[in-house]
Symmetry: D2
Subunit: 352 residues, 4 copies
């Protein structure tokens, strides 16, 4: 009997974890932690989660308790709270040797406290925990994740961006200078709280760039790309809000070290990701889009060339709530627990 805690269960990432863990054979019981709603039922906020169709679905199965209570009850802890809250929970979980997977930015920067502080305005209270944490991008750090007790689950934009560039940087196909990442996200990326930018009458029927040059995912993207390239990368990254629910579509531009044919570029990517269960390199003529990965843990990549093979354009598409958050977190749990990495994540995306 394994109990899984989800802290911050009332936010979108937390609720998505609950939904996905509901069908995970390794999640026997859930312990749901919430700072603001302890004592209530998650079904009150998310009536979609009420179940009649599952054998033995007990009333009260989605009761919210305090975060510490949830941590103590669990064997594995997911934290889906806003950045800045994870250290005490990680300390509590680690003290009893529990696997701790954080979906905020708090454990994504490892030993680089300076960058974390510059972008998130906070120092590390527990540097040792950060030193032990692993950046949870399985395609990059699978072995480290398998051995980790603290995982910093990547951001949604960094996941889509990194997977789109990993083969090109690791294989030395791309020049490190002049990389441009132009990405669109659906509105779920903005979370559950209403705001001006998520107001239907502002968000619908329009595309709007935001936080140009100042989005907090910039240092995370650069850190991941630098790890892949083995040297410093500074990419230009511009996020956009697009009128869709789920999905990130990143259109990534880079210069090739030497011109390649489309077939050569595709073959390089396809070989690189051949054994990856959640990265699909699309055939020639196809273009990646969030529509084909929605509600799944897939990252779709399509590869294109311009100007005679000097410039490569890679389109990378994920579901921001799944491969960009809850699904990848479960993938990390599976790896760290020694389960088949695909457990609970084999769902096919609905295209319509």
């Amino acid at each position: 009997m394994r109990t899984i805690a989800v802290i911050g269960a009332t936010g979108y990432a937390g609720a998505e974890l609950v939904r996905l863990l509901n069908g995970h054979p390794g999640a026997d019981r859930l312990a749901l932690g919430s700072t603001s709603k302890a004592g209530e039922s998650l079904e009150g906020l998310y009536p979609n989660l009420a179940t009649k169709a599952q054998a033995g679905a007990a009333s009260g199965r989605l009761l919210l308790v305090s975060p510490s209570e949830a941590v103590d009850a669990a064997d594995v802890v997911f934290s889906a709270q806003p950045s800045g809250c994870a250290e005490p929970l990680a300390a509590r979980a680690s003290a009893s040797g529990k696997l701790f997977i954080d979906l905020s930015a708090d454990f994504r920067f490892g030993g680089d406290e300076a960058t974390y502080e510059a972008w998130y305005g906070k120092k590390y209270a527990e540097p040792a925990l950060h030193a032990a944490a692993v950046y949870g991008l399985p395609e990059l750090n699978r072995q480290g994740i398998a051995a980790a007790r603290i995982v910093g689950n990547p951001g949604c934009y960094p996941t889509a961006s990194s997977l789109g560039l990993f083969p090109a940087l690791r294989l030395g196909l791309a020049r490190r200078e002049g990389i441009v990442i132009d990405a669109a996200s659906g509105l779920t990326g903005a979370g559950r709280e209403p705001s001006r930018s998520t107001h239907y009458s502002d968000a619908a029927d329009s595309v709007t760039p935001y936080k140009i040059g100042s989005h907090r995912h910039i240092p995370e993207i650069n850190a991941a790309l630098s790890a892949m390239a083995g040297d410093g990368v500074e990419a230009v990254f511009t996020p956009h809000l697009a009128p869709m629910g789920r999905g990130i579509v990143a259109t990534i531009y880079f210069q090739l070290q030497k011109p390649l044919t489309a077939a050569e570029l595709r073959e390089a990517y396809a070989s690189f990701y051949a054994e990856e269960p959640f990265v699909r390199v699309l055939p020639e003529g196809a273009v990646a889009t969030n529509r084909n990965v929605r509600l799944s843990n897939y990252c779709d990549l399509s590869l294109h060339l311009a100007y005679g093979g000097k410039t490569a354009i890679v389109v990378s598409a994920i579901d921001n709530m799944v491969k960009g958050a809850a699904g990848q977190a479960i993938q990390n749990m599976n790896i760290a627990l020694g389960l088949d990495e695909r457990t609970g994540l084999a769902m096919l995306p609905p295209a319509f």
Copy 2:
């Protein structure tokens, strides 16, 4: 030189008045009143309203002042504040004989204070003003509006519903019992303030009924229909939020007193509205939809029969911000000022 005041200019109805009056030849100057934003410029909230393309467009043309300052500067006053605020402004305007057109519910119930109090929780402070007010549905009360100094501009749902039923009730074609009005509104109807129901991730990709049996437009609809029928009407009305920006589509069901053919029903409606500049009775085979009236002052009506002509189904479509609010208010102003009723309202709707 005529100055037009718009009180509550920062809300959607107010901002729409500003946009439409911008092209109205009888509106030489605007005086914009706001309780919360006096001293700011409306362009700060609505960058779309910044103009370079109009001759003589002065900087500062959209400065917000206090409501009373705006009233005093104006010849005609539109008030687009929430219900419950209009009486003091109406008193101030009336004291100097200015035309006052209120877009809230405050002056829609005339002498029927009991109904107003029951649904809006407030007594009349100035009964004499209400006794003098006219319900501003031009198709029903054109002569009264022409003579009025206070106009209660109808709600959006009541406008669509009333125009869909007026010929059937006035001509005695419809039974008064058993009328069902099932209506969908776009999200602009919920106004500018973000909320749970206007959060993109809640509103998009779904249709949701709301305030079933309790929407405040119910008594207004019944009052208008009763005035049309010459006797009491109690319609069942259910509003829905639909994922669109502008528009109301009301599907209206009623029993015919005696069976009619489709041609007879259409002829009755077409004759009834023949001289109305803003009501289009569609030809056979067409179905009314908000798409064809968006951003215009039109009300489109299509007529249908079921079960051998015993039941009629009328579809009524308007733009909730124009014929359902700001456009109809300008139509009322035109009538009350003796201008051509169509002045400033001749724009054709874009269908795409």
Copy 3:
């Protein structure tokens, strides 16, 4: 080893069957039949269905063959072709005693050939097959389905409408006269083929009624309601296209035989459906919406009263592709095969 055939796999209902059967433990192999695309792979049309994440997912697993070839290879046959095509397939399947579940209208009318012919323009070629067929609404006909070899899977609108009225009609709460069903469907209901009404620039940002008084689901709705009431019912039904992907939201109006309180009405419905795994009667204050049932087999019902309990308003929401098509078909298969009815259908809907 059980092989399941899906005929008409390239349409939306067929592709949805493939997606859902992919996770069904009783579906060991698929045989995919297509008249027009035999020899191709379904992944060419639906790249979302390509899988890397499933153990043993063989290349060529989604090869399309001819319909008869698929029937012959299978133990159970789903047919998702357009109405008018099912009889020969049903005959072929029945000849070898295979379960045949048809998602078109062909087997929904049982012995009532006259109604089928009047609305679908075709006589029965095989009356005996129709006499043996069962209308596949599990909540109404579970025992019949368990014994059947041919199931006529209900239409999407009839499913939502029938489930919203079943307790009221069976328990004698509702008057049979004057029922109005006003329903909105998402665009997936219009299928995969592009057309004027599914063109984004026509369909987006608008609500449009269609086929008023002439939709082919009218006789099916009336037949189901009459079976529930034990007497003839003629409901007025108006479908609308709404700008959403999946979902039907039916707002249903009927007169109560005698006034009820909200609690009484809810209790009647809740008791009636207490053991139904896929019908959720919502608590007071909640309103059913497609958002909370998307991608699940649930039907959500919310109950409302108007005018002192004389008129009831029931909102019924389903996913048109799941409970309205492929999910209900699998539910029928489960029943007919003696499996747990919920097998492969326990997924929770994502609300965002």
Copy 4:
């Protein structure tokens, strides 16, 4: 009395011209040409264009005639047919000295027949007409347009792209190498004919790049940018379909010759466009979006920096049907006829 012809009136660009010319004081009469629908009324295809609200609006005002008949009846000719059709009409109009404005690509390449042939697969039949034609971007070629009799109206993407880069290239702020233009278009850009990519269930709720490296606007963009820079420019351009009706949002990346502050960059752009009636350079902190320019002839530009002022990011937003097609064509007509350039184009965009 001036008669304006619109050839290809049934397409979106043509219908938008009809809608905008309806309120243009210099357009006394319209002559509507259509190859496929001559003899019909445009209102049959676009019921939104039926008018009751305009004084003297005659029945039959929107009758479609043959293209040549429309040309002969007119003083000014707009052609909005697909590329490849304009030469014979241009010849016919020019023979009688009529102003001819073509919204297709046929007259955008002037003397560069090689590029036109390479991308459009057709040689010039009338080279002299092309030699006399002017590329109709008023901000670049106002004087030439004033003297022209044939105007090649720019494409939508080239308009947004060019206006976003014009000051930077003309003033020598930008390096000509490494320019990336990442642009999203609404679905109206795909025209009126239903297709797979415009099918609601494919287009909604997703962002999809298309024609990467092969879009026909690439050579037009490069030609315009080269004219602005005074030297050859090869930009990388990627278009995306986004789920919105109208609008293009282009996010443009370039390297600065030397680092600038945000204020310096903004001042350079604002001064450059100070007298342009339809280009709005947004204040600091604002971000351009299609929402604020919809249904208007404005181009909004916002300016941003990354990495200490080495990289500039310009966001350029237009309505693809107005500044990107019909509105700019009318602007060109105004210039060529010596009218105030803003005539008929002063409408303010609705933001909601």
